[in-house]
């Protein structure tokens, strides 16, 4: 993304609640709510893209870390009375440690086996969340999670700040020497190993950081809704994230952001029932991945190249 286009975009993103108030005063609450979702989903998709897009490991375990963070924050806030920032930090830590520990055995698997192993891990996490009633309250959900800020524009600020933090980390990890090492691992593992880049270490690093960030977003999500249920951490979340990534463009900051905006805005515009939504997302994902696996980002690049 060129600097010249980035600056006005950031300005628009920051001023969005006031712009919405000017353009559609009656709809402000609803539109700002959608904007908060967009920011949170964009941040979550970026954390997922660190693993899928930058080291090329198709992990299906992301909901486990999202859920681990959400439950950690929810439990610390409701039972131990921790303040907001402390319980979010706790969530990041717990999810990050979980990802780092789970990464050790999981990355001994390759390709399909890795995908299946991570999916199995996510299913186990969901089963635990549903059945460990003493801690998670199971299907009764954890309710009454306190909201640190109460107005929607303030929440939008929190979500945007979180997106900013994730964005900076994302850029830090995918550029410079570290980014080049990650891409080397993704593009040619034997060559990377030959150049003294330990593929396993970089994969695990991306997995742990991605998991920690997902945990933090999960914590914010739980605080924002003030309720968290096991259904929030099923396969459906992985499918949503895959749609965002492949719609926009895997491994590309602009692609993932565009994907997140389209993904959260489209269903709101179309007002779909959840079941039909998943049918359409599934079909969309199928068409994109078969016809144009680089997503919209591939389209942007081709147009830029043609000019």
């Amino acid at each position: 993304m060129g600097r010249l286009t980035a600056v006005p975009l950031v300005a628009v993103a920051l001023a969005a609640p006031w712009l919405v108030a000017l353009i559609a005063p009656g709809q402000q609450r609803y539109i700002v709510h959608v904007l908060i979702y967009t920011a949170l989903f964009a941040a979550l998709a970026l954390s997922y893209d660190l693993v899928v897009g930058h080291v090329g490991s198709l992990s299906l375990a992301h909901p486990a870390f999202f859920g681990a963070g959400a439950y950690t924050a929810a439990i610390l806030a409701t039972r131990a009375g921790w303040p907001f920032l402390a319980d979010v930090a706790g969530a990041v830590l717990v999810a990050g440690v979980l990802a780092a520990v789970a990464g050790v055995p999981l990355f001994r698997l390759t390709e399909h086996a890795f995908a299946v192993g991570t999916l199995g891990f996510a299913v186990v996490a969901w089963i635990v969340a549903t059945n460990w009633v003493e801690v998670t309250r199971g299907p009764l959900c954890i309710t009454g999670i306190p909201k640190p800020v109460t107005t929607l524009p303030a929440w939008y600020g929190v979500a945007l700040a979180a997106l900013g933090v994730v964005l900076v980390l994302y850029l830090g990890m995918t550029t410079f020497r570290l980014g080049r090492a990650l891409h080397a691992v993704r593009d040619n593992e034997p060559l990377a190993a030959a150049a003294a880049i330990n593929p396993l270490r970089y994969r695990r690093l991306a997995f742990a950081v991605g998991g920690a960030l997902a945990g933090g977003i999960g914590a914010l999500y739980a605080h924002y809704l003030s309720v968290f249920c096991p259904e929030e951490m099923t396969m459906a979340l992985t499918v949503n994230l895959l749609v965002i990534l492949f719609l926009g463009g895997v491994g590309s900051l602009r692609g993932v952001l565009v994907g997140a905006v389209l993904f959260t805005a489209l269903p709101e515009v179309l007002r779909l029932a959840p079941t039909w939504r998943l049918v359409i997302y599934g079909a969309l994902l199928l068409v994109i991945v078969v016809r144009s696996p680089e997503g919209l980002e591939g389209l942007f690049r081709r147009r830029a190249g043609a000019r």
Binding site: R108, A113, V123, I127, W276, Y281, V289, V290
Partner: protein, 290 residues
């Protein structure tokens, strides 16, 4: 006590038969076409609904409804291969995995829209008649499942070793290029593979549905367990996948009865991950060939 253990074992073998028929199809696809079909559990789900439709809605006899369901799923296997798989056969495994995962999401949610989330029951005369041998009780349907599984796997073995199409499938699983060179119609063999795999899933659905309920999202868990069996059996090795399926079924039944019912699936997946780590080439240490 002893009868309890026996009943649990029979339950485990029933589950194992179901997993094995689904896993065998998955292993065939992987062995012959080098393709992971994440929508394979949905084949079972569709087969089960096709059977329910004939058996309950049209009140056809069990055998007729079953045969129609299997025939319908063979057609579906061909349609799926031509419509979805042909476009991704030569692509990377990322693309294949996501495309078939997307198909599974579409099928599951279409099933929710068409059939609703209320489970469908298809009790048969055999599933409600209990055989009692000195306190050891089991439904006749379970015997039908076990017997059916034996016949199906015997027929599958005959098919892949004795028939032209079956031999072509084995040859493809060993060396695709050489097959093309000597004039094997590679595309047709892939089609046959999908038809056979879909038929296996449908047979499993017809045999097992009278014992369990039918619901739209039954496929996802089944795909995962069948996949676990395929991985544990050695990628694409059909007999390995069948053996591993029975193991998973029995372990799941024992864990469900004696450890924790709520966590039985978690235990099955943890064992899968453990096998993956302990023996990445599968329990039987064979990777190539069906």
């Amino acid at each position: 006590m002893l009868t309890d253990v026996l009943e649990t074992l029979v339950h485990g073998l029933t589950l194992g038969s179901m997993y094995a028929m689904v896993a065998a199809g998955l292993a065939l696809m992987l062995g012959v076409a080098r393709l992971i079909n994440f929508a394979h559990g949905e084949f079972f789900m569709l087969g089960a609904y096709a059977f329910w439709f004939g058996y309950r809605e049209y009140e056809l006899p069990y055998v007729v409804a079953g045969a129609l369901a299997v025939a319908a799923m063979v057609v579906w296997g061909l349609v799926y291969q031509l419509g979805v798989i042909r476009a991704i056969l030569a692509r990377s495994w990322h693309v294949q995995l996501i495309a078939t995962l997307a198909t599974s999401i579409v099928l599951t949610n279409l099933a929710i829209i068409v059939f609703g989330t209320q489970p469908k029951e298809v009790p048969t005369k055999l599933s409600s008649t209990i055989l009692d041998i000195g306190g050891f009780r089991l439904a006749w349907q379970r015997l039908l499942v076990l017997g059916g599984a034996v016949v199906v796997f015997w027929a599958l073995q005959r098919f892949v070793t004795r028939t032209r199409a079956g031999r072509a499938m084995r040859a493809m699983s060993q060396n695709r290029e050489a097959c093309a060179v000597v004039g094997v119609d590679v595309q047709r063999v892939a089609l046959v593979t999908f038809a056979v795999s879909a038929a296996l899933a449908a047979v499993a659905a017809v045999l097992v549905s009278p014992l369990f309920n039918i619901f739209p999202d039954m496929g996802t868990g089944l795909t995962l367990k069948a996949f676990a069996a395929v991985v544990a059996g050695g990628f694409g090795y059909v007999n390995g996948a069948i053996a591993a399926s029975f193991l998973i079924g029995v372990v799941e039944a024992l864990a469900g009865s004696y450890i924790s019912y709520a966590y039985k699936d978690a235990i099955a997946f943890l064992i899968m991950i453990a096998v993956l780590l302990w023996r990445p080439a599968g329990l039987f240490g064979r990777r190539i060939g069906i």
